[in-house]
């Protein structure tokens, strides 16, 4: 197993390099010139060139790719220019008010990767945004999975009946309506008309958020995610319910609860875990819509703001971070298979 994990980690390196290359090519080919965005409404060529120089986008592509690789590996940006820059000369204007004007400090060689738009450190941006995102997305994933599993097993048990058909029909209708409609309607009625929850908001207190601000977006996300999950999980359970081992278990005289919850569920868990594993990386980027409509200062909203501002360091960092999370989660899901199903072996 150790060798398997090491091999998988080794495979991550070229995959990540591929992702980085793709990001780099995409941003350089279609991303536009960030200097034009940052230069303001009235500018001139010299100023645009200066900004390009400051951002390092005036360098040849292979140098920029090198910087990018270094940034991903270390979280710091260290351009050749930043090492060679001279400190400010110790000069003074005799007429200047020296009390009000102390000397400048020399520039440092390296610094944390910073947002082009706001100059904030990118790792800090990601670190401060991940909390609110997970506060919403973890309860959503956990509750949605548990509820969907139990509903699915129940629906699978009564397969073919009117109840089954009604629930499937409701699921289809629910899936046909846009998430945006649910948000707008729920926000209007639950937030404004009936005042059950605040329309939007977020605080610095975790428990206040979980009790006051998070319930409505969590409930909405669960409600919307439940229909497709229920349909999918039902099909997983149906595949198992018709298997020979289930007939054998029933023939042995096991109770229906034991057959469903012990034997059927355990076997149906493999595709369910795969499905949940696929969904886990999205936890870390959150829901753009939920975060925008409910003013949750999460990562999804931050990425949206960064895209609108052509803030490439933030977009690139978020993309690389998501790629890494996806690879790690995939590995963990594969390891979990073994724990659930002893027949699984690592080769």
């Amino acid at each position: 197993m150790g060798a398997y994990i090491l091999r998988r980690i080794g495979q991550m390196v070229p995959t990540l390099a591929g992702v980085m290359l793709l990001i780099f090519v995409l941003f350089n080919a279609v991303g536009g010139d960030p200097a034009l965005v940052l230069a303001g409404k009235i500018t001139n060529k010299e100023q645009i060139e200066n900004i390009r120089k400051q951002l390092g986008v005036d360098q040849p592509w292979y140098v920029q790719m090198g910087y990018f690789g270094f940034e991903v590996a270390t979280g710091f940006t260290c351009t050749w220019r930043s090492f060679t820059e001279k400190p400010e000369p110790p000069k003074s204007d005799p007429k200047a008010d020296t009390k009000a004007a102390p000397k400048a400090a020399p520039p440092s060689g390296c610094q944390a990767v910073r947002s082009w738009a706001t100059n904030e450190e990118v790792p800090k941006i990601l670190a401060t945004r991940i909390g609110p995102t997970l506060s919403i997305m973890i309860p959503v994933l956990v509750l949605e999975t548990i509820i969907a599993i139990f509903l699915a097993i129940g629906v699978a048990y009564v397969r073919g009946t009117l109840t089954d058909r009604m629930i499937m029909m409701i699921c289809t209708v629910a899936m046909s309506i846009s998430f945006l409609v649910y948000i707008i309607v729920a926000q209007y009625y639950f937030g404004f008309k009936w005042g059950v929850f605040p329309v939007q908001g977020w605080s610095d207190n975790f428990w206040k958020n979980m009790v006051t601000y998070a319930p409505l977006p969590i409930m909405l996300a669960i409600f919307v995610g439940l229909a497709p999950a229920l349909r999918l999980y039902r099909s997983f359970f149906l595949d198992e319910i018709n298997s020979d081992y289930v007939r054998t278990a029933r023939a042995k005289g096991l109770s229906e609860n034991k057959v469903l919850l012990k034997h059927v569920m355990r076997n149906a868990m493999i595709p369910i875990i795969t499905n949940v594993g696929i969904a886990i990386p999205s936890l870390f980027v959150g829901s753009f819509l939920l975060e925008s409509f409910f003013s949750i200062p999460g990562l999804g909203r931050e990425i949206l703001v960064a895209v609108n501002r052509s803030d490439f360091p933030v977009i690139k960092a978020a993309t690389v971070y998501l790629a890494m999370i996806t690879m790690i989660i995939n590995l963990l899901v594969d390891i979990t298979y073994k724990a659930i199903d002893p027949r699984v072996t690592f080769k």
């Binding site: 500018t43 102390p102 100059n119």
Partner: protein, 608 residues
């Protein structure tokens, strides 16, 4: 000995009483911390370094933190400059080249670790430093254009920076002469009577302290320290910004001069005059990008104020140009003004299809202008929340004449068709679209972004142009790419909007000034007479002579039609009943020190 002790005790008692009395007075002078104003931006701010930001919302925050040498009277219309941290208006030399600024003594920056526990007084050198920062390439200032080429001697500093790679803040500059600790003499390269407006513009002249800039260096966006009425208490980027009243703010009282015929202004002035500033203890700015939660947060009183109500909700807020009944019942107050801006579609003057100055090309552009259904854009796309503009000058700016009308800016498809016929733009092949006078295919390429708003405007343009037989298509690209292409002169036509940072026609005509081609002058319009008048107007004090020049420039603009003028959007701001004294100013952003809250009214309305 006993009498000495008695004297000591008496003196001590008097001193203690005086100290307690002064402290109590000082405490009474502080704004009520329970007065908390909550408000949501529709777009995230970027940061609070005035030199590094040019977006509206960042300025909305930092204008309450920093002072500029001059400011605007809160209620006077047309807008009127007045001294802010100066003893008087700057002394301008007769040739308009030298501005002498005398700063008031006893104005202090808010306390900060950068000052090592000392109170830091604002001095004349601070303004010189703050303005120099815009020229420093490391600042990457988007506001440099407002000072670029204007300050005598700054070019030498920049040249040295180009040679050595180092921007020397201490290098003597002819244009910044410190007469004494409180007096700064600014010398310009050429006379510019708009420079007074620049001294009130927070993007170019917000006063920062050098120690603070150097201490926080790359983190300066998050550490604004100024002499203004508020200071930053906390900032969660793109989410929540909190300002609290600056306890060291100078003694200042509410004062404004509304026009005699401005009933609302007079009422505000009557109620507010003489109050100690600021009055609100805490301001919380949130970011809500989506229109519905922003509107509902105001409606359910989570927020006290909403600015620029989105057209999607204007029918609920201000139907038929009247405040909605339910809002009226709640005592909601409305402030509605036309923004100092213009939207326009430019035609590239160097383009072989639409550009040029020959009569047929001018006729084509004028016909397109007359054929475009701007009233429909106002009614449908903008839901009535805009006014048509008939000059390139936005409402409220000096030079804007609200009653001015020109036939070439009115919607008149019949006249457009007739004009095209006369100049030989006819449908020769019977496909329903006109060809060029030489028989070649005529197609207008009006670039636009793939956003919903642009798609809706595209539809209006297509409908209008088809009605006069002109084929039009809309090449799509992202905004930064279009900007690059436009500046390179590669677009045939593009729709843009322009808001002025100072209230003068100069801030609009710069988009038509020949030497600005490739930058702000996207159409690359060039007319010698227009350029001559533009430069002459800058050197002419505001008044009838300058107005006459602006009129002449407008005539040149209309006769050559490099743009199809669009609209100026109407800003509808709402405040709840307990917010007192709010009135939108066309250019002033730091208005919150002029506003108060009545907590009794707040409690009463919320209970009801």
């Amino acid at each position: 000995m006993a009498s000495f002790c008695t004297r000591c005790c008496r003196t001590l008692t008097i001193v203690t009483t005086l100290v307690v009395a002064s402290l109590s007075l000082a405490l009474h002078a502080q704004p009520d911390p329970n007065k908390v104003l909550k408000y949501a931006f529709e777009t995230a701010e970027t940061g609070f370094d005035p030199a590094q930001t040019s977006d509206w919302y960042s300025a909305y925050v930092f204008s309450n933190i920093f002072d500029t040498p001059l400011t605007y009277d809160y209620l006077a219309r047309p807008v009127k400059l007045k001294p802010n941290v100066l003893e008087a208006m700057p002394d301008v030399s007769p040739d308009g080249l030298v501005y002498t600024l005398k700063f008031r003594k006893g104005i202090y920056f808010a306390d900060d670790a950068a000052f090592n526990g000392q109170r830091r007084e604002l001095v004349a050198a601070d303004l010189a430093y703050s303005m120099k920062r815009l020229f420093d390439p490391k600042t990457r200032s988007p506001n440099l254009s407002y000072l670029d080429g204007k300050i005598a001697g700054m070019e030498k500093v920049r040249q040295r920076q180009r040679d050595s790679g180092v921007f020397d803040y201490d290098m003597p500059v002819e244009g910044f002469e410190l007469i004494d600790r409180y007096t700064l003499r600014i010398k310009l390269v050429a006379p510019d009577y708009n420079f007074l407006y620049i001294l009130a513009y927070n993007g170019a002249c917000a006063i920062v302290a050098r120690e603070v800039v150097e201490k926080y260096a790359t983190d300066i966006m998050a550490h604004p320290v100024g002499t203004g009425p508020y200071k930053l208490a906390s900032w969660k980027r793109s989410s929540k910004t909190v300002l609290v009243a600056n306890p060291g703010y100078r003694e200042e009282f509410w004062e404004a001069e509304p026009n005699a015929d401005d009933a609302k202004g007079q009422e505000i002035a009557k109620k507010m005059r003489g109050k100690r500033l600021p009055m609100i203890g805490r301001i919380e700015f949130y970011v809500i990008e989506e229109t519905q939660p922003r509107w509902l947060s105001f409606r359910n009183m989570q927020h006290d104020y909403i600015d620029r109500v989105h057209p999607d909700f204007i029918n609920q807020a201000y139907p038929n140009n009247k405040l909605a009944k339910d809002l009226e019942k709640l005592g909601v107050q409305v402030s509605r003004t036309a923004a100092m801006e213009v939207t326009y579609a430019y035609f590239a003057m160097e383009n072989p299809v639409v550009g040029g100055y020959t009569p047929d090309k001018v006729a084509l552009r004028r016909a397109i202008g007359m054929g475009y259904n701007a009233p429909e854009e106002i009614a449908i796309n903008r839901k009535g929340q805009a006014v048509a503009v008939h000059t390139p000058i936005g409402p409220g700016a000096f030079g804007y004449e609200p009653d001015f009308r020109s036939r070439s800016t009115e919607y008149d498809p019949a006249a457009a068709r007739a004009l095209l016929d006369v100049f030989g733009y006819k449908d020769r092949d019977g496909d329903g679209y006109r060809e060029n006078p030489d028989g070649s295919r005529l197609e207008i390429l009006m670039s636009s972004t793939p956003t919903l708003r642009d798609r809706q405007l595209d539809e209006g343009w297509k409908k209008s142009m088809e009605a006069i037989g002109i084929r039009i298509s809309f090449p799509k690209a992202q905004w930064p790419d279009l900007l690059k292409e436009s500046r390179a002169g590669k677009l045939m036509s593009w729709r843009l909007a322009w808001g002025a940072v100072y209230p003068d026609a100069d801030a609009f005509y710069l988009m038509l000034f020949g030497p600005n081609a490739g930058q702000a002058n996207h159409s690359r319009f060039k007319n010698d007479e227009f350029d001559r008048l533009y430069l002459k107007a800058r050197m002419t004090p505001p008044g009838d002579e300058r107005l006459a020049m602006y009129r002449q420039m407008n005539r040149i603009f209309l006769s050559l039609a490099p743009w199809r003028l669009g609209v100026a959007r109407m800003d509808t701001d709402l405040t709840h009943a307990w917010v007192q004294g709010y009135q939108r100013h066309p250019t002033l952003r730091g208005v919150w020190k002029m506003v108060d809250m009545d907590l009794d009214v707040q409690r009463k309305v919320r209970k009801e």
